[in-house]
Structure formats: C-alpha cells, structure tokens
Amino acid sequence: MRALSLILMVVLANPVLAITVGSALDFDSPEKEALYRQLLMDLRCTVCQNQSLVDSNAPLARDLRRLTYQKVQEGADRESIHAFMVARYGDFVLYKPPLRSSTWLLWFGPLLFVLLGGLILWRVMVHYRNGAEASAVISPQARERLSELMREQGEAERR
C-alpha cells in the first residue's frame, strides 16, 4: 500500500502530467498533443533560465505555453515554432542549441577534453613504463644501499 502510494506520488508529480491536469487542453489529434508536449520540453523559459516551459510557473512561460498551444492547433510544425521563438528570444530559448560554427566548442568541447585527458594519461604511462628503470631519480649509491637493505630484510625474514 505504502509502495503504491509512493509510486502514485512520483507519477502524479510528473510535470508533463501536471500541465494536462492543470489546464485540460483539447487537441484536434493525439499527434498535436504529442507535438505540444515535445515543444514545451524543447523550449526554455527565459525568465527562470534553468526551467523548460513545462516546469516554469512564470507568467511569460504561461503566455508562451498558450501561444504554443494556439500555433500547434493551427497546424504549425516543430521547426516553425522553434524558428518563431528563436527569432524573438535567440538560440538560448532552445534547450538543444543548433550546431553551427559558433556552437562547435559547446558541442565538441567535452570530446576535446576527453581526448586531451587521454593524451596526458597516455604520455604519463609511457613515461613511467620507459623511464622507471633508467630514471636517475636516486643516485647509484642510494640504489646500492637500497638493494642492500632489501637483501638484509629478506634474510631477516627467512630466519
């Protein structure tokens, strides 16, 4: 029973459901309804900048939801609604920024860092593999003393 109510709470807390429950919009077709829900998640609320139109309770988000609803009902497709929003609020309004020369760093930056990290890791590994024996970090005298100590230790253990 407890588990069931917990599951219910999680399901009912779903923001997409909350919208439908809250405003009970009628759509001409299930496709339009799916498009509307998709768009609300694609678009960022520029007032509360880390929320989508679904999540945000800002008055502007409410207006933009209504506008999106009207446009979807009028038969607008996803691209044209994206274009409408970008023309007014800029690329920032899209959660997924378009791929173009000014956004290359944004898209491929993480890959660049992975490659850079891999390169550093590789060089460090090569360095230690080749350099471990030959490295002159400790002097020959110290090396001799070290092996002497290790030999004594070994003998002590054997006894």
Partner: protein, 176 residues
C-alpha cells in the same frame, strides 16, 4: 618533457581560473537579442493615454527613439525611472511599452513618478512583449531613424549606463 609534464597541471589550473573568471563575471540575464540589427517587429497596440491613437512600428520611423518596457509592478523600473526622465529631458524621443499591467495602476504610476514617455503602448496581455522578445522588465531598446533596433539593454538603467552606453550611442545614431 619532464618539465612540461610538471607544469601541465599548473597550466590547466590557470586556464580554468581564467575561464571561470570570465564566465562567472558574465550576467546570465544579459542575453543577446536576435532583434539587434533587425527592423522593429510589426505591432499595433492602443496608447495608454490616447486609446484611439494606436502605437505601431510606424511611430518609430523618422527619428532616433528609445523604447522602454516597464510596468507598475516592476520594482527595477522604479529604480531606473529617474534615468528615463533624464533621457526625455535631453530631448530624446522615449516611447514606453507598458507590459502586462493594469490600466489604473499604470496611470497612477505615471502620476506619482512623472511621465517621460511621448507615447505609451498599453500591452495588457503581453502580446507585443512577445513580438519584442521581452522576458525581464525593464528592457530598453535603442531604435535608429530607419526603425532598426541598434541596441538592447536588459535590466535597470543606471546613471553610468545612461552616460557611457546610451547617450553616446544616441548621439552617434543622430549623426548618421
């Protein structure tokens, strides 16, 4: 090789500090408006003071003007009001866009604080605001005499913003 590797973490550290220094210094509210460089969007909205005389994009043609988006409920608008008044006093055409406000509240606000606006669009539902990409009042646009948006300032105008940013730009546009 050895020296390079030892200095690498320091190099990465310095690069990150620089990146954060610049990145965290940016104002996330200051979004580049796609309207800058474009003609003002077409709109038509009743004037707050003369309902029979609508404000349209044609009202902005022929001279340099400043479009200021404000509302009586907007606290930062009160903060910048002195600067808007100063702008009007210097002879700049200032057009207001009263955004998502109640008629009485807007009129009371102007009576209380003074009216710097030569015309005021009464955008009760915020529809014109959407056309202009308004997302955070106050917003201020500088429009040249051909009706092209040349600059947008988001947030309250401070005396320094007025003197260092807006006035030089307006003077430059008037000289064009």
């Amino acid at each position: 090789m050895r020296g390079g590797l030892t200095l690498l973490p320091l190099g990465i550290f310095v690069a990150l500090i620089l990146l954060f220094w610049i990145g965290l210094g940016l104002n996330p509210r200051e979004l580049n408006s796609p309207l800058v460089g474009q003609s003002v969007p077409e709109f038509s909205v009743p004037d707050l003071m003369h309902a029979e005389r609508p404000l349209t994009e044609q009202s902005l043609m022929g001279q340099v003007s400043v479009v200021n988006v404000w509302a009586s409920w907007c606290v930062s608008c009160r903060a910048e009001h002195q600067q808007i008044l100063a702008l009007a006093k210097q002879g700049v055409q200032v057009i207001g866009l009263n955004y998502k406000d109640e008629f009485e509240d807007a009129v009371d606000y102007l009576q209380e604080n003074g009216n710097p606006y030569q015309a005021i669009g009464f955008d009760h539902k915020g529809e014109v605001g959407i056309e202009w990409g308004v997302y955070a009042t106050p917003e201020t646009f500088v429009i040249d005499r051909h009706g092209v948006v040349r600059h947008k300032h988001t947030g309250p105008i401070r005396p320094a913003t007025l003197e260092q940013e807006l006035m030089p730009l307006i003077a430059q546009l008037e000289a064009e």
